[in-house]
Structure formats: structure tokens, C-alpha cells
């Protein structure tokens, strides 16, 4: 007994003095330094609460708050002999939970997940030695910290013991947002503490092995329940859904635009990508669906000049027959596609106005009604189709508006469909929505979109349409909710380790196109800079496989470096372009390099005043380290607009010491030597193209059109040309006029984005990059002495 007390005392001291604990010699491993307790909002030391029972072995137990997540805890147990350990944890009014049993060892580390905020838990270890003798450790206590402040308010509308239980994940579709999880009582017990690139249709999918699949902006990430990244897929722009196949390939939904009958149509393309990003299969809606069918308001909706013809929103892979279900919201169809041939096997939905070639693909509905503008179609364990039927009012003129979850039983031999069940959601939702079959046969419904009101409802119902569980999330839109069961949460991590490995993102920072980017710790701006030192990032416009350095000398190998200190960002570049030189007869037959250094504020703040950009010389720089000039030439050229008057090459700039006047177009259009379709993602929102000398970013001119970011809408300038067309003799500034009504962009060609951040936009027309500065001007004259003159 004295020994036990001594060890327990040692455990108490662990949080204070690691060096004196851990036993003697190698028999008792010490807790790694990186598990040293770190202060959290409300950390509590581990203290013994009750005397040990039947404890016949020597052990220590250390309990600490997780250093990054207030709803997790880290527990370390050491034993003097090889043992198996599991943990029990509980709090007042909360049922006890027991973790998996660890492998036989003398050191056992656990991360406890699913704790409520500001709650004191008692934790004990069950220790079984090699003789199968089990002892229970003294109880340890831990008080969790506070929730992040951005957590929306959740109300438990209905709770029932019949609930399948577990953690229900969701995230707001309004960025910035975060993935959260609540337990059966509607209490927060989980959130993702890492910063991840949230999309506007944020989704966590729970895989059968307990891994979590995050659908992020241009990325799919696999994590475990503790938030640890297991694999990352860097993706091209995709929308709404991604499906992980058993071979670790991904199916993703992408968009494409084609012109048919004089109209631009936005359709969908399904891509199958390997973990390395290679496309191994694709299916285009334009190749298989009727481009003259526009069954309702959604299909006729025109955004950015393009009809939202298909607006697909879900994929579901059916392994047993190797087919894919595609949910097309605008067509109000669920389309079953043969993964091998690409042929359509069948179409679930109203065949009205469908083209003749597809007419034999439809089912005859023998009972019930067809869905309209649906989401999240899936094949259930019963073999029927379950989906969330928004029933948009515009699609159902004259009908009562209600959203529902509905099941259809299909007979693919007789080609008949029967509506076998429906559950009307507690609110009408004109968009968003999800439905999942839980392991006990219950159905989890997400009525999370805007509609009757602004709250999101997540409901669990049983097969008799009894509401089992129901939460309401105040003033929040939720695209999809997902449930993970406690048995999966408490399972050993080895379950996850046994899964086929998925290559992680290559070391370093890679953008969605595969372009390697710079990576500098503590300098987020650097991550937007292209690593031009990487030959793969060279734009081979003339397709000769050679760089400027190959042709004109090594001094033309582009170099760019970025460093940060507390207040500023310093960019150093030799000014050599990472794209082919074109000889336009302007001052020399070969390109040139130089030595440039620009210093800009690291965290610029928006000012209430505007400052004119320098009339001549550098006003900003690209993420490839090339200078950006303003929208005019010099006096000898009448301060004319170089875009309409001058000689700019295919990339939007000119001369030997290259500088841009126009958007760096070649970054978005031509292949790189490394095989990327373009250096930076084309026609995509939130792409940083450069930085102005006041520190604000200059963006590619695209913004998301809607919450789901189905379309990236082009941002246009608010300047109108007022000249006569005599571009060569017109001062660019005197012949453009700012008109507030033309676009959201201000006089400087910038605006505050959806996340509240100010940026300039590289528009198609004058002023091309920026017309003035809205940020701090402290550094500008250092970079260009003509500023203010």
C-alpha cells in the first residue's frame, strides 16, 4: 500500500515536475515531454478522489486537458508490468463510458473524446495484467474548458432513450465556421480545433471504420475522432459531394459549362481521382442528358449568364453492381450510372419532357409522388432509395409546400417504383438537406436550409415515423449532419490504422492544381506564393519544354523568397518570370532579371481614406515575385492605357524587366512543365494573385455565387470607359470614370469579402489591379519613391 500511495503522489506531481516521476530505470517509461500539461481555459490538476480498490500492481495515471481542444483530455497510464488498460469516464448526470482496451504494454496513452464543456469528469483506469488480474486505479478528476465562442445555440427539442446515440456532427454553411458535434442531450461534446479550409457546403462523413471524412474547399481530408489528419486529397474545384471508394480513389462532383442552342449551360462532371490526383474515370452530364430539358425554375435559373441545368448535389456509390447514383436537383432526377461503361442504367423521377432515347430508363410510379429538387439520395440496407425531398415550391406550382424524407422501392425488372414511406420535415427548406440511415434502421434527417425560418433542425425518426430525437440550431443553416456512434468513438485507433493507407499530401504546400507553394512558419502570406524555383511551376507557353533559363542563361531562373516578422512581410525576387519570354521588340531581344525587395505590412487595416497609387513604377507584386504597375504608360506614351493601347504579351505584361499591367492571365490558362492545367486555379474564388504595397491581397476576380459555391462569379470593375477609342492618345485616368452602381468594387478596385477581409481584385478592365490604396501607406514609398509625388 505505501508503494501505491507513493506512485499516486507521483502522478499528482506529474503536472508539476516530470523529472522526478516515471519510476526507476527503464521499467517505468516517463510521459513524453509533448504530453506535458498545457494550460487551457479551465485546467484542473489531477487529484485522487477515492481510495484504490483491489489494486495489486504499481502504476501511475496522469490526466490532463488536451492542449488544443477544451472538450478532449489526454490520459497516460504506466504500469510496472505489461498490462491491458481501458478507461472509464463519467460526470454527474452523464452515463459512464469505457474506452477500448489498449494493447499489452507498460505505457498507455489515451485521448478522451466526447466531453462536455465546463464539466468535471472522473476517470479511472482498469488495468489487467498478464495473469488476467484486473485492478482499478484511483479516480482522477478533470474539468473541461469552455466552448469556442462561435458555437451556435442548440436546443434539444426531443430526446429519447431509443435514439441511436453518439455524436451528431454539423457545421454552419456561413463562413467562417467550424465543425461541431453534440451528444444525445444536444450538448456540445466535440469540435474540430484545427484551422481547415471550410467550404460553403461543409460536411463530415463518417466512414464505416470510424474515420471522419471532411469535405473542405478544394480538399478532402481524412481525420480520426481526435482531429488527427490521416490523409489529405488536394482536389480541383469540386462541389457538394465526394465519395471515398474502397481502393482509396475519390469520386467528386465538378462543374463544366457548354453552349447549347445559343445558351450557356452549367452541367456536372463526375471525376474519379487517384490519391495522387490522376483522373482515371469521368462522366459528363452533357454526354448523357438532354440539354434541352429545363423542368423547373432551378433548371432555368441563370447565374453569371449560365443556366443551372443540372445542379447535382450528391453521389452514392453502389459497390455490389459498380454503379453510381447522381442526384440532380435541377432535373429532379436520381440517375444511376454504370461505372464501367458510363451508361445510364435508370433514372428515378418524373419523366415529363424527357428525351426519347432516355424514355426506357424511367420507372412507372405506382404509388406516392415524385420528388422535386431533392438532396442526398442513398441506397439503404433495405435496398430502397432514401432521399431528402426539398419540394421547392417553384417546382410544384399549386402544391402545398413541405419538405420531406421519402423512400422509393424500385423494381428494376418491371421498371416500377413505389413510394413506401415519407416523413414530413419540421420546416420547409428551399435548399440544403440531408438524410442518412443509421445502424439501427432509424433515419437522421437534416432540415437545415433556409425556408420557413432560419433555424436548422436535425431529427432522428424511426421506421414508424416516430420522432426519437430532435435538435434545433438557432439562426444557422446546415447542409448535412452526420452521426457517429459511441462504439466507433471509443474504438481503438488500430481499427483506423488497419485501413489501406492513403498517401498524404506531399511535404510542403501544394495548391489545388498541384503547384508547389512556399511554406514559411508563422507567415501565412508565404503560402500564397508560388515556388518559382520549382521547374515544374514553369509555364511553357510555346510548348518547347524549355525555360527562359534554358535558352538565355541561369540568371533567368526565377527566385522568390518570403519572410515575415511581427509587423511586416518581405518579398525578395530576381524578377525573372516563370513563363516564356515573347520578343515584342521592346528594348531588347532577350529577357532580363534584376533584384527586387518589397516590404509590406503583415496585417494591414482598412483605412477611411484613399491614397493614389504611384503614377509610374511598382504598385504591387504577384505571388511569383513579378512587379505590378498601374494602368497607364508613361508621359511619352501619353499615360495611355497599356492594355487597350500597348503591347502586352499573353501573360498581361511586357518588356525585358517584366511587369504586369493587366491580370497575370497566363497563370490561369496555360499548362506548366509539371503538368498542371494552370499555375493557379482558374475561375475560382479566393485565389490570391498578388499583394498591393499597402499589404492587402490582390485576388483573382472571382467570388462564390451562393452558399454552396456552385459558381464562381466574375468580379467586374466599377470603372466605365469614357474615351473616344483613340487609346494611344488618351490618358487612361482621364478617360475612365468610377460609377458605384457598376459593381461591388470600390474606387480602389477592392471590397470586403464574405469573411470580412478587404482585398483588391484583378479585374478584366481598368484599373486591372487597383486604382488607389485603402490600407496603411507607411511602407509604400520605401518600395516606390514615386508614391505621393
Amino acid at each position: 500500500m505505501p508503494t501505491i500511495i507513493a506512485k499516486t503522489s507521483c502522478a499528482i506531481m506529474l503536472s508539476l515536475l516530470l523529472i522526478s516521476c516515471g519510476g526507476s530505470g527503464d521499467t517505468t517509461p516517463s510521459i513524453p515531454p509533448n504530453e506535458t500539461p498545457t494550460p487551457t481555459p479551465t485546467p484542473t490538476p489531477s487529484v485522487p478522489e477515492t481510495p484504490p480498490a483491489q489494486d495489486t500492481s504499481e502504476h501511475t495515471i496522469s490526466v490532463n486537458n488536451h492542449p488544443q481542444n477544451t472538450l478532449m483530455a489526454q490520459v497516460a497510464v504506466t504500469t510496472t508490468e505489461n498490462s491491458l488498460v481501458s478507461l472509464e469516464y463519467q460526470a454527474q448526470g452523464i452515463a459512464a463510458k469505457e474506452t477500448y482496451q489498449s494493447d499489452s504494454s507498460k505505457a498507455h496513452a489515451f485521448t478522451l473524446v466526447g466531453l462536455r464543456a465546463n464539466t468535471t469528469y472522473t476517470i479511472t483506469a482498469n488495468i489487467t495484467n498478464e495473469q488476467s488480474q484486473t485492478v482499478t486505479s484511483q479516480s482522477q478528476t478533470l474539468t473541461t474548458g469552455a466552448l469556442p465562442t462561435d458555437a451556435p445555440m442548440v436546443e434539444l427539442v426531443n430526446g429519447s432513450a431509443q435514439s441511436n446515440g453518439g455524436i451528431t456532427f454539423f457545421a454552419s454553411t456561413t463562413t467562417p465556421s467550424r465543425f461541431y458535434g453534440v451528444d444525445e442531450s444536444g450538448e456540445y461534446v466535440w469540435y474540430l480545433h484545427q484551422d481547415v479550409p471550410m467550404s460553403v457546403s461543409p460536411t463530415i462523413k463518417v466512414l464505416t471504420d470510424g474515420r471522419l471524412m471532411l469535405l473542405l474547399s478544394r480538399e478532402v481530408r481524412l481525420i480520426d475522432i481526435t482531429g488527427q489528419t490521416l490523409a489529405t486529397y488536394s482536389l480541383p474545384a469540386y462541389h457538394h459531394d465526394a465519395v471515398l471508394l474502397s481502393n482509396n480513389n475519390l469520386l467528386i462532383l465538378t462543374s463544366e459549362v457548354q453552349t447549347h442552342n445559343g445558351e450557356q449551360l452549367k452541367g456536372d462532371k463526375i471525376l474519379e481521382l487517384t490519391p495522387q490526383g490522376d483522373t482515371v474515370w469521368q462522366w459528363s452530364s452533357f454526354d448523357h442528358l438532354d440539354t434541352s430539358r429545363f423542368p423547373g425554375a432551378l433548371a432555368n435559373r441563370v447565374i453569371n449568364g449560365q443556366k443551372d441545368w443540372t445542379h447535382s448535389n450528391a453521389l452514392f456509390y453502389i459497390e455490389h453492381d459498380d454503379t453510381i447514383m447522381l442526384s440532380s436537383r435541377s432535373q429532379s432526377w436520381v440517375i444511376n450510372i454504370n461505372h464501367s461503361s458510363g451508361d445510364i442504367e435508370w433514372i428515378l423521377g418524373d419523366s415529363q419532357s424527357a428525351s426519347v432515347p432516355a424514355s426506357d430508363k424511367f420507372f412507372n410510379l405506382t404509388s406516392g409522388t415524385w420528388m422535386a429538387s431533392q438532396h442526398a439520395a442513398m441506397l439503404t440496407s433495405l435496398g430502397d432509395i432514401l432521399l431528402y425531398d426539398n419540394r421547392n415550391e417553384a417546382e410544384l406550382a399549386g402544391a402545398t409546400n413541405y419538405s420531406r424524407t421519402v423512400r422509393y422501392d424500385l423494381n428494376t425488372s418491371a421498371m416500377t417504383a413505389q413510394q413506401t414511406w415519407q416523413y414530413v420535415a419540421p420546416k420547409y427548406t428551399q435548399s440544403l438537406g440531408d438524410v442518412d440511415e443509421l445502424s439501427n434502421g432509424n433515419v437522421l434527417i437534416t432540415a437545415g436550409g433556409p425556408g420557413t425560418h432560419n433555424d436548422a433542425h436535425i431529427i432522428e425518426v424511426d421506421s414508424q415515423s416516430q420522432e426519437i430525437w430532435h435538435i434545433a440550431i438557432a439562426d444557422t443553416s446546415v447542409y448535412r449532419a452526420e452521426r457517429i456512434e459511441w462504439s466507433q468513438i471509443l474504438a481503438p485507433p488500430s481499427t483506423q490504422a488497419n485501413q489501406p493507407s492513403v498517401p498524404t499530401t506531399p511535404t510542403g504546400n501544394v495548391n489545388a492544381n498541384g503547384t508547389t507553394m512556399l511554406q514559411v512558419e508563422g507567415c501565412s502570406q508565404a503560402s500564397h506564393f508560388v515556388d518559382t524555383n520549382d521547374r515544374n511551376n514553369y509555364i511553357d507557353y510555346n510548348l518547347d519544354g524549355q525555360t527562359n533559363a534554358d535558352l538565355y542563361g541561369d540568371n533567368l531562373t526565377p527566385t522568390v523568397a518570403v519572410t515575415c516578422d511581427e509587423n511586416s512581410v518581405t518579398v525578395t525576387s530576381n524578377g525573372a518570370t516563370n513563363f516564356d519570354w515573347v520578343n515584342l521588340g521592346q528594348g531588347g531581344a532577350t529577357p532580363n532579371a534584376g533584384a527586387y525587395q518589397w516590404v509590406i505590412p503583415k496585417s494591414p487595416t482598412l483605412t477611411n481614406t484613399t491614397q493614389s497609387i504611384p503614377l509610374l513604377g511598382v504598385v504591387g507584386f504577384t505571388v511569383t515575385g513579378i512587379q505590378i504597375f498601374g494602368p497607364n504608360e508613361n508621359a511619352a506614351d501619353n499615360y495611355a492605357d497599356p492594355v487597350t493601347d500597348g503591347l502586352l504579351n499573353y501573360c498581361g505584361g511586357h518588356t525585358r524587366q517584366y511587369h504586369f499591367h493587366e491580370r497575370a492571365k497566363c497563370f490561369f490558362q496555360w499548362q506548366t512543365l509539371g503538368g498542371a492545367d494552370s499555375l493557379l486555379p482558374a475561375q475560382t474564388a479566393n485565389v490570391v494573385l498578388g499583394y498591393a504595397l499597402d499589404g492587402f491581397p490582390i485576388m483573382s476576380p472571382y467570388q462564390c455565387s451562393d452558399q454552396a459555391c456552385i459558381l464562381a462569379i466574375k468580379v467586374e470593375s466599377s470603372y466605365r470607359y469614357t474615351g473616344s477609342g483613340d487609346y494611344a492618345n488618351e490618358n487612361a485616368w482621364d478617360n475612365h470614370q468610377y460609377e458605384e452602381s457598376l459593381s461591388p468594387l470600390d474606387q480602389c478596385n477592392g471590397m470586403i469579402d464574405q469573411n470580412g477581409n478587404y482585398a483588391y481584385y484583378a479585374t478584366d478592365t481598368f484599373p486591372y489591379y487597383m486604382a488607389c490604396y485603402r490600407g496603411p501607406t507607411d511602407y509604400i514609398s520605401v518600395n516606390n519613391p514615386r508614391f505621393g509625388q
Binding site: 453552349t259 507557353y541 510555346n542 510548348l543 515573347v582 520578343n583 515584342l584 521588340g585 521592346q586 528594348g587 531588347g588 531581344a589 532580363n592 534584376g594 503614377l615 509610374l616 513604377g617 511598382v618 512587379q627 504597375f629 504608360e633 508613361n634 508621359a635 511619352a636 506614351d637 495611355a640 497599356p642 487597350t644 493601347d645 500597348g646 503591347l647 502586352l648 504579351n649 499573353y650 501573360c651 498581361g652 511586357h654 518588356t655 525585358r656 524587366q657 511587369h659 492571365k665 490558362q669 496555360w670 477609342g725 483613340d726 487609346y727 494611344a728
Partner: protein, 231 residues
Amino acid sequence: MSRLIGLVLLGLLCSSTQSLAHGDEELLQIQKVRLQLNIEPIAANFIDANNKPVTLTQAYLSLFSVEMIRCPTLPKHVKRRTSSNLLNWIIPAAYANHGVRFDKPTQIPIMQSFNLLTPTTLDLGELSLPVGHYCEMNITLAKNSKPLLAEQGVNVNRYSLYLTTNADAKINANYAYGKNTFIALDISDKSHELTLAINPAKLFTAIDFGQSESHIARSILLNFHQQVELN
């Protein structure tokens, strides 16, 4: 003030050029050379590189300038004096004039769009070429600011290349593309007349029109200089 500075800098540049043109090492003899442009019309219907029939409904190319470039024969010290470092010192490159100006007697501005479906014969003007050997010729394609040349509502002058097909393809580029091509031209003290002959027919049949429109345009620009001869 800026204009004054510009003029001063321009004067410095001109004096520098003068000393180059009339250096100690050689006295340059200038020969006037007339230059004519001939463009062979292309057939509106042809078979492309992918054996697919193509019908052009519009085809315009905009030539910006042509320049003859002497073989490098200047003494080394003169070369050094013309290095970019010296020019940079005289006129900081960041503020140097590089817009639409033609101040080289070896260069002729064209700045005009040509209908490739019809034959073109045009007197481009007169070059002032120092007697000697010429190894390269620069031809630059670029849009121009000539008055509206409207074709079906489109001002084709605003494109360096503008094509439409009966399949509703609109193939265009509005950026400049220039390239030096090798020539073997001797300018003596005798009178010269040169012809810039462009035969785009082979250019178009060598292109796969199944590519995306922007890639077709690039392919045409990249291959254009192979279809130019100086006679």
C-alpha cells in the same frame, strides 16, 4: 513635370543611340529599302491536322510591326556600352518608355488587321537599313487601335487573331505575340525592294481544330512565323 523629365530622358536616350550609330569604329551607310506585304488568301474550307473539315467564316490577323535586325558585328566595347546596365543607369527600366512607339529606322509599324480570306498586297513603307548583313527579322502580331473594322458586330482590330467557323467557334487572341526569325539578308549600297510573303494556308491545315479555342489560337500564333518569307 513628368512630361519634361520624359523628354530629357528621351533626349539622353537619343544621344546615346546617336553615338552608337555614328561610333568611331564604323561609319554606317544607310540604305532605303521598300517593303511590300503579300498575303496569300486561305481557302475557307479545308481539312485540319486531325482530318476534320473546317469552314472559316471570318479570319483576321493583325500585324503590328516588322523589324530587321543586323548580324552582331559591333566591336566589343560598343556592345558593352549598349548593355542593359548602362541603359538602366540612363533611364531606370521601371520607368522606361516601352509603349507603342516606333523610333527605329529598321522597323516599320503596320498596326493593321488583314482579312486572310482575301488576297492582300500592300506597300508597307520604307526601311532605313544600315548597309550590312541581317540575320533576324522580328514580326510582332498585336491588336491595334485603328478605327472600327466591324465584322458581324465585332471590331476585329481589337484582336491579334480573330477567326470564326461555321461551327460557331470563336478563336481569338487579344495579346501580342512576336518572334525573331532567321533571315539571310545582305543590304548593299544598291537599291532594294523586299517582299514579306505570308502564306497562312499551310498554317491552318497544320492545326488541330478539335482543341479548345484558346489553344487553337496559341497554336496558330506559335506557328505563324514559319509561314513567313522575306524575298
